[in-house]
Symmetry: C2
Subunit: 175 residues, 2 copies
């Protein structure tokens, strides 16, 4: 088949409980669902575009016990965070290579909702897959959901993959 592969963007992030380099339950689920239900054995007809957004405030929060004495300390911190993000992407890229599906992976800093919609406009995937923690209405008020924002604002078709009940931690916000 000579036509261009279907380009599927998958938004991936780290676990809020375990941190880097662990992928969140919901983004791992969205990734695995895409391989199992869409790509299947047809690996040559798909290309996965793996986007990881590093949330800056969240990363900064890990560093409350750090002491910064020089400009270099901040540079080291930034490099360390970048390395953490790379380990996360490595997990997904390795899986793609194992099964033989083409992929590209990259990191952006910022608010995931804005970054994802911006990257959709920039790279023009055929569709976007995002995981969802499946929060109830009460939890959504405080946590917000990236997936809902993408469904409304991303300029491409979006498919939201919810975690199944047995995959969810006791507090659904832990992912």
């Amino acid at each position: 088949m000579a036509s261009e592969p279907t380009r599927v963007m998958v938004a991936v992030n780290e676990s809020t409980i375990k941190g880097y380099p662990h992928a969140s339950i919901s983004s791992k689920k969205a990734f695995e669902w895409t391989l199992k239900k869409i790509v299947r054995s047809n690996t040559s007809d798909f290309k996965l575009l793996l986007l990881h957004t590093q949330v800056q405030d969240q990363d900064g929060f890990d560093d409350v016990d750090s002491i910064y004495a020089s400009p270099d300390d901040f540079r080291h911190m930034r490099e360390r965070n970048k390395a953490k993000g790379l380990h996360l992407l490595e997990f997904f890229v390795n899986k793609c290579h194992e099964i033989g599906v083409g992929c590209e992976a990259w990191i952006r800093k910022g608010d995931p909702t804005e970054v994802i919609c911006h990257e959709v406009r920039r790279v023009r995937p055929d569709f976007l897959v995002v995981g969802s923690r499946g929060l109830g209405p009460f939890q959504k008020v405080f946590v917000g959901t990236v997936s809902e924002f993408c469904v409304k604002h991303a300029e491409c078709p979006v498919i939201v993959i919810k975690r199944s009940a047995e995959e969810s931690p006791q507090d659904p916000a832990d992912d």
Copy 2:
């Protein structure tokens, strides 16, 4: 590959401008997108579940010039409407057979939002594809969108395929 095919439910409806047996621009687009971007050449790994909901009021509206003199007249009308729905499904089923992808198609009467969500619970597809007319906020108030309801309430992943600008009629509600 011995595993079960991916079961994709596609909601199809007739054109509001042309009526039966013409498929709406948006449901034809959703169907063709699914074949082109998801199924591709891998026809044996997918099964399409084509659901057409007949809106009862809308169909009744076509019959304002009819005269009913006996119970049989109503039966004939119902049979005619059913036949119209069958012609619509025939269009989609023929396309599936042409390219060699398995399918099942059926008709339900009622409100599309409720029927689609009910059928999702009943047949448990891997995901649901719905077309969207891409209405603006003003038009949505009066017309409502089936796709938005499905995204919120259907108990499976949902992908909404919007019509492209060049496919849209002058009045986006005509589809």
